[in-house]
Symmetry: C2
Subunit: 198 residues, 2 copies
């Protein structure tokens, strides 16, 4: 049996998404064998993050500063606002570098089933951000699920009184998607949104 | 872009075996969102391990005490000694709970190719442990590779002068192994070591 300390470390790692008990043990062994080059740096990195961790009071992003790095980045177009369900979505879009504006994290999606209502999300604060002025376009980047689309429709209604452009991500065939492997819903969307050949 | 602190944490995690950049990002996001239940416990566990980390001067195990928990466990049979190549092998055997004795970690295997000689491994210290008395059996639990077996033969010769039993792990069909999926070497071993049906 490993010592209680090593056991606790294995369990803490095993609880991370993507790591099971087996890979956690391999990771721990690696950390123990590479004290200087793996354990030390990981410990320092965790400490640095833990000490500064903050939720951006502006957009809901999680970062080591508040406001977050995206909200304070002067190279970003503050007139375009991309609304997402979760921080993970923000990160995915940010990584793609395709959206040059700022973000707004709802903290979930409307769900009758799970009892998640508008006041459980940051929709009021989104409305206030738009009300404060300076926004030209709001991109609704909800998931292509029933709940995501319900949320997008609800938000679109809440902000239709503002003189801004409201758009949402296109739905259709994923790049490289083969028709006979696609689910019916995606096919239906792609057919409904069909466009004239350029 | 994530902050430098978050980026550093992602990279430290991505370097662990079994985690790539993608799963590291997911793990970081999980840690950031679960500061109290994931980030805190992981940080504490890493700190506790880092502060106490030691290589057992007796058997070569890595633990948070020296001598390690296995060497000091009074329930273990100190007369049986299992020799393994790496700490990972010790842990695997220890987890199986099939071997009730103690261990000796060589720190590798003899390899002409990699230029690893007997003096690069803890073979001298193994001989001294046996010389000191109290050992009845040495189990050579090297990997079933050419280098592992060369190492086992070398050690067997080095300790043949002691009045002890020297054994090695049996080779043959793995449990559940189907003949037509096995490599030729395993089949040959299994055939050579065939036994009368009980
Ligand atoms: Zn922000
Ligand atoms: Zn030990």
């Amino acid at each position: 049996m490993a010592s209680p300390e090593i056991e606790a470390l294995t369990q803490a790692l095993a609880r991370l998404p993507g790591l099971g008990p087996r890979s956690a043990r391999r990771a721990v062994l690696h950390l123990l064998k590479k004290r200087e080059t793996a354990l030390g740096p990981l410990l320092n990195a965790l400490n640095a993050v833990e000490e500064n961790l903050a939720t951006c009071s502006n957009c809901g992003n999680i970062d080591t500063t508040n406001p977050c790095g995206i909200c304070t980045d002067p190279r970003r177009d503050s007139r375009a606002l991309c609304v997402v369900e979760e921080v993970a979505d923000l990160w995915a879009l940010d990584r793609s570098r395709l959206f040059p504006g700022r973000f707004h994290v709802l903290g979930g999606r409307l769900s009758a089933l799970e009892g998640i209502r508008p006041e459980d999300l940051t929709i009021d604060s989104l409305v206030r951000r738009i009300e404060a002025g300076g926004t030209d376009e709001v991109v609704l980047a909800m998931n292509a699920t029933l709940e995501g689309q319900t949320t997008a429709h609800y938000i679109a209604e809440r902000i239709e009184r503002f003189p801004i452009r409201v758009t949402q991500l296109a739905h259709g065939l994923p790049v490289g998607g083969e028709l006979d492997y696609l689910d019916e819903g995606t096919l239906a969307q792609a057919l409904r949104a069909r466009r004239p050949v350029a």
